[in-house]
């Protein structure tokens, strides 16, 4: 269905191509996962498949692209719009219309499909995607999962046979994500749709896909069956990593499979929760209201020096409100907001460094040194907006830490990061804790929390639901189990790092 032959793509900024002599061949009806580290060219590969690269990115192309055996190497995306569709990370940002129905009609209108046929096709797509009750709703009123469905329905109604999705679950909670991916899987089976999905959280769909494309940092792409490809892949979730460590062949791709593979007894290090340090933060009766909405309802919050506290809870439970409240109540805090790039407004990395040093009143290069500790050296003339999201986060973190604050607050610090980048952030946070700082961060990501936090505060509708040491909060008995706790079902074992392997 889709074929790239000796396909090379270069943005033109650097010597090394983003995609290097790529040869892939995807069959009709396949569900394909594209994975790779942050900044590896995953998105570029998707864009190249659709034809958005080079037309919407600039850069040069060598090699060929085929769509259903036709050479479409030079076609603009709108020339292939009957066959191949593209859904980007934030569907709400790519909607053109106001209501669901109008949005579904957009592609068909552009293709010049006559109205009666248009209505028929939309009807079919609505039934296939279960959007019947939502047809006249405004797009902005829909949940993230529903918005993704609308985007997919739009592609289906246009008759697109190939659907390319860039991180479709990044804004969804685990349940909605699972539902959506199941749904795409079914479409592939039922409607012979070819779906190509890029995803960081491999565990969400690894047991559903037929093929995996691994994009390496040098721009090469390997294609193969899930188990064989992932056995060599570095940026993997604990589930896969466990299999890699144990040398399982074939790799276990689901919790259930892994349970059957593990051998008992298991040796592991217990996580000891230290109670003794002096309290750094001690606040009572914290409340936040927005109009009638109570975001934070009279809660108490404390944390010790050298302690890392994770705040968890569903969207709208008050995590962000609590962080901002702490920021306003406590003197000498550093905070990294959810959209870290909001704090970047200068034209080059070196300007940002210099400005940060001046504002913090510290020695020159302090910010730069901190930044390099996180992500290594990067050309000072680069534009901050051209950095990857992980690098941007590191930059903002460095700027905030240059002020040498006693308390560090982070709102969702792992958005859009791959497993190795998450590991780096986790290490940075642990380092801060060993230096005696208090770190409080909000996160959805249980695996990241397991690596990082001493204690987990779970919020629900502005109230504290639970406040437990991390090993209890993320155990297999609770509501937020990690993959490791689900596999082993042993009290106190939540992360791979705890395992002591028999030599």
């Amino acid at each position: 269905m889709i074929q790239l032959k000796n396909f090379t793509f270069n943005y033109g900024k650097t010597e090394t191509p983003a995609l290097n002599r790529v040869n892939i061949n995807i069959q009709a009806g396949d569900f394909v996962l594209v994975c790779g580290g942050t900044g590896s060219g995953k998105s570029t590969l998707l864009k190249a498949i659709v034809g958005l690269a080079p037309h919407f990115t600039g850069g040069t192309v060598a090699g060929q692209r085929f769509l259903a055996d036709n050479d479409v190497t030079n076609a603009m995306p709108h020339e292939t719009a009957e066959q191949i569709g593209y859904v980007n990370q934030q569907p709400e940002g790519s909607f053109v219309a106001e209501t669901v129905m109008e949005e579904l009609a957009f592609t068909l209108e552009q293709l010049g499909v006559p109205v009666p046929e248009m209505l028929q096709r939309i009807e079919k797509a609505i039934i296939a995607t279960g959007l019947n009750d939502l047809r006249d709703r405004r797009l902005t009123e829909l949940s993230g999962g529903q918005q993704q469905r609308v985007a997919i329905a739009a592609a289906l109604s246009a008759g697109q046979k190939v659907l390319v999705l860039d991180e479709p679950t990044s804004a969804l909670d685990p349940e909605a994500a699972h539902e959506l991916l199941e749904f795409i899987h079914n479409l592939c089976r039922r409607e012979q749709l070819t779906a190509i999905v890029a995803e960081h959280r491999i565990e969400r769909l690894i047991d559903l896909v037929d093929q995996v494309l691994v994009v390496s940092n040098d721009g090469t792409v390997a294609q193969g069956k899930p188990a064989e490809q992932l056995a060599r892949f570095t940026f993997v979730p604990p589930l896969i990593k466990l299999g890699q460590m144990q040398g399982w062949d074939p790799l276990a791709l689901s919790i259930a499979e892994a349970r059957e593979m593990i051998s008992t007894p298991v040796h592991f290090r217990k996580i000891v929760y230290p109670h003794v340090q002096p309290q750094n933060i001690q606040l009572t009766k914290l409340s936040v209201k927005y109009g009638d909405l109570i975001a934070l309802d009279d809660i108490d919050f404390g944390a010790a020096s050298g302690e890392v506290v994770a705040i968890m809870g569903e969207n709208g439970s008050g995590k962000t409100s609590l962080l901002w409240k702490l920021r306003n109540e406590i003197a000498n805090t550093a905070m990294v907001p959810q959209q870290a790039a909001d704090l970047l407004f200068l034209n080059s990395l070196s300007q940002e460094f210099a400005d940060s040093d001046e504002v913090a009143g510290v020695a020159q290069n302090r910010t730069a040194t901190l930044f390099e500790e996180f992500v290594g050296r990067i050309d000072g003339s680069s534009h901050p907006r051209d950095l990857s999201s992980g690098q941007q986060l590191a930059l903002v973190l460095a700027i905030q830490l240059a002020k040498n604050s006693q308390t560090v607050l982070l709102d969702e610090p792992t958005r859009g990061l791959d497993y190795s980048a998450k590991q780096q952030v986790a290490e940075a946070i642990r380092q801060l804790a060993t230096k005696g700082k208090t770190v409080v961060f909000a996160s959805h990501d249980v695996e990241f929390v397991a690596l990082t936090a001493d204690r987990v505060v779970q919020l629900h509708k502005g109230k504290v639901l639970s406040d437990l040491p991390v090993s209890q909060a993320l155990s297999h008995k609770g509501k937020l189990p990690t993959q490791v706790s689900q596999i082993f079902e042993i009290d106190g074992l939540i992360a791979l790092e705890q395992l002591v392997l028999d030599a």
Binding site: F56, T57, G58, H78, F345, L346, N347, H383, R385
Partner: protein, 257 residues
Amino acid sequence: MRSQRVISLIAIALAGVASVLMFAWPLFIATTNQNENLLAQTVFIALMPILVVLTLVEFSTGEIGSRQLAVLGVLTAVNAVVRLVGAGTAGIETAFFLIIIGGYIFRSAFGFILGSTSILVSALLGAGVGPWLPFQMMAAGIVGLGAGALPMLKRTLPKVILLIVFAIVASYIYGSLMTLWNWPFLAGSDTTLSYLAGAPLHENLSRFINYEIVTGGLLWDTGRAITTSILIALTAPALLATLNRAANRAGFKKLSN
């Protein structure tokens, strides 16, 4: 393709001159019959929207792909919001700095469209639609058009100075265009400050300037010139870089040569 480009340039120049002239009729009017005069004014109000549409079509023909459209949409939205934020305070005009900087980076045709759509969207979002709207759209379009015709300089500081000088001139030009349009309507035709049909140009010009002074128009224009200059001084260095990056990514370079 070449003839297209030449036509394009001529069209831009001609449409620019035409749109300025549209406002200037009271200075040249010769009618004496009261009723004819009235009818003429009304027809003029009715024709203005048509002229705006024609000019917009002229400027957009073949020039707007999806990327340019997206950038236009964003800048228009920012402009409209910024304009609504600043509205209500006398003489403070917050939309102009972006029209000027945007017009400068993306050149004349885009500048014209950006100017008019910004005014249109802010009107739809709450500034109110009235008979004045086509005139405002046209005048703001002219400002964007002018900014797009400024020479491209290499260094940032001269660029910013150039833009500030243009902003001051444009503020007064916009002001006088808007006064020109409301002059016959608010002052009527038979006061000592109204246009005098059939009178020589200098006589009408003198009456017009006096009307500007009496109605405080010059004060507003000065306010507009000051706020726009300050906003340009504060934001232009950063904005120029940002929009240039956007222009590169949105494939504008091909278009503006």
